[in-house]
């Protein structure tokens, strides 16, 4: 039911938009041949709107970088159609596409100064030296590197190199900016800073950013929409909320944030049967008898002393024993052993008298609306 709704909304959106910045239809990419053939991208459909901050998320080897490289023209699709603002670009070389890339580890030209790096794209398009230098200077100022024009990339810190890479791509006023794990090489503090900066830069410029990352938190923080990929297939596209609250399958539920996957079987009607035999109301489209899992977010679960379950949640509760308790500062992370399963519970940090210790007998419960069923 709910999954079908999500899909329908997506289709409607695509129809109403005039021209997509990037439109991918049935694109497949295979590497090698014969026995060593690898399907890196398997028949995906994807639309990225103009002005959208779009993330492609997945574990390494899921095909997200290959997809990005196909948009850039660094790889050509084996099959399918790839359009940028309505123009088919499937086998056009990268220099003939209105997109630019910020490469992983930046790929700055080590033998050129910052200014020469940033003005490279303009120079290659035939812009004269003085004009190119002026425009490059503006972009260097925009990324707050004024005064560093004469330096070589090796004389810059990681964060500064990142900004040069950004300026070098943006100076060409691309219609779509592609970013391949651009923050991967930065330390945590700088990464969080750059996340916000990238986001505000994107808003300011109004250009579509297509962003590849394996870091789900990064994707959730920055993106308007996220595509989750796994084994070359596109599993789900949606906003952070949609992916987090209504994951389409077990992989997405597990990959986006943390979750407890409680094994269950679909019973008739809107009921599912948990491993311990208890019936829970959880609507889904799956046929009776299907092996599914109920995805329960750790922060959706409440915890209290044994027997303290409020009356309205009695149907969605379990009794267990605390097996570990970890203090996280802003929250307390419990693992609760229920007779056949171990559940993670994230409770708000409270005074020490309200906390539970390993071995405490507790009850856990959750709101019925949190019952979300996923299959494989």
């Amino acid at each position: 039911m709910a999954q079908a709704d999500v899909a329908r909304v997506d289709v409607e959106e695509e129809v109403t938009r005039a021209v997509d910045a990037v439109s991918i239809r049935g694109v497949t990419k295979r590497f090698g041949s014969g026995d060593s053939e690898v399907v890196a991208v398997d028949d995906i459909d994807l639309s990225i709107a103009d002005g959208e901050f779009f993330a492609m998320l997945g574990p390494s080897g899921c095909g997200k970088t290959t997809t990005l490289r196909m948009i850039a023209g660094l790889e050509f699709p084996t099959a399918g159609s790839l359009k940028i603002f309505g123009d088919e670009v499937g086998t056009l070389p990268p220099n003939k596409r209105p997109v630019n890339t910020v490469f992983q580890n930046y790929a700055l030209f080590p033998h050129m100064t910052v200014l020469d790096n940033v003005s490279f794209g303009l120079r290659m398009q035939g812009v004269d030296k003085a004009t190119a230098a002026t425009k490059a200077g503006e972009l260097i100022d925009l990324v707050q590197l004024g005064g560093m024009e004469k330096r070589k990339p090796s004389q810059l810190s990681g964060g500064q190199q990142q900004r040069v890479a950004l300026a070098r791509a943006l100076v060409n006023q691309p219609k779509v900016l592609l970013l391949d794990e651009p923050l991967g090489a930065l330390d945590l503090k700088l990464r969080q800073e750059m996340q916000l900066e990238l986001k505000s830069l994107q808003r300011e410029l109004g250009v579509s950013f297509v962003f590849v990352t394996h870091d789900q938190e990064e994707a959730l923080t920055m993106s308007d929409r996220i595509a989750v990929m796994h084994h070359g297939r596109l599993l789900q596209v949606g906003s952070a909320e949609e992916l987090y609250e209504r994951p389409i399958n077990r992989f997405v539920a597990d990959f986006i944030g943390q979750t407890n996957l409680v094994e269950a079987t679909v019973a008739d009607g809107d009921m599912i049967v948990l491993g311990n035999g208890s019936k829970v109301l959880a609507p889904s489209d799956y046929a009776a008898g299907t092996q599914v899992a109920m995805s329960l977010r750790p922060e959706a679960i409440s915890i209290g002393p044994r027997g303290s379950v409020p009356a309205e949640h009695r149907a969605d509760s379990l009794d267990g024993v605390v097996s570990s308790a970890v203090y996280l500062g802003h929250a307390l992370d419990y693992h609760v052993s229920v007779d056949w399963i171990d559940l993670e519970v994230r409770a708000p940090a409270v005074g020490s008298q309200g906390r539970f210790q390993p071995g405490d007998e507790v009850s856990i419960w959750w709101d019925r609306s949190s019952n979300w069923v996923v299959a494989d």
């Binding site: 850039a72 660094l74 990268p94 220099n95 630019n100 790929a107 700055l108 490279f120 794209g121 290659m124």
Partner: protein, 307 residues
Amino acid sequence: MAAVVERDEIDVEPFVVGEEATPEFEAANIAQERRRGFLIALPAYAYLIVFFAIPLLTVIVYSFATRDRFGGADLTSFNLDSYVDLNDELIRTIIVRSAGLAILTTLICLVVSYPFAYYMATRSETVRNIMLVFVMIPFWTNFLVRNYAWYVILGTDGPLSRVAEFLGFGPTRVLFTQAAVVLGLVYGFLPFMILPLYASIERIDGRLLEASRDLYATGLQSFRHVLWPLSLPGVIAGSILVFIPSLGAYVTPQVLGGTGTTMLGSYIVTQFLTARNLPFGAAMSTVLMVFMLAATIIYFRKGGRTL
């Protein structure tokens, strides 16, 4: 558990045990480190002195001596006569010819090697290693023997001539021409161009080329602005490794060249063995060496030390 204890026992002890660290100790440690390094390098130093420095000095000393009546060198009267004699029409012709052929050899080697080295550097590890072996294979046969192989191929009745005849060009003899010498030199020194080029291209991050294409460079512009400048150390190293031995080449011009193709190397040998003018041959060798030294220094200044 036992293994852990053992490792603790053989832990390396610091230089100074139980004493406060001071700049003096630091200096003593550095000095000791240096002495150790010198001892390790000693056999190499000894070898270089006996077989390189002493012969080199002998040549330089002889170049200032006077030729005596019996074809030896009079080591009692030193002067610059031999160097003055170098300013001679014939010598100039030979130098210009040698330099010209060496430059031509270097250019041909560069043009042939660059695409090959690039191809090799962008293959998978397995293919790369196989190609490296193929580049090395010629070294398994003696250089002189390989030159005689070309002697046969290029000769009057050789395969090349036969093929030319068959194709209707009439009998062709390349042997004893400058073309034969250049061909022999290119063949002989090609690996010395390929290897440094390969080493420097292989080190270039492929994403830089992708980035340039992404930034609107055509394939040619990408080569000109990114690949070529970044591979320059390899280009310079390879060029020097080919140019210097080509300039002083002896075997190849001797075997494949004719009377009209005398190069510096052959001329120097003639001075020592046939004309018996030791000081003159030594002077010529010295000038050649100084010139090569200058070329090498330019390389290290401009190209950095990448081999």
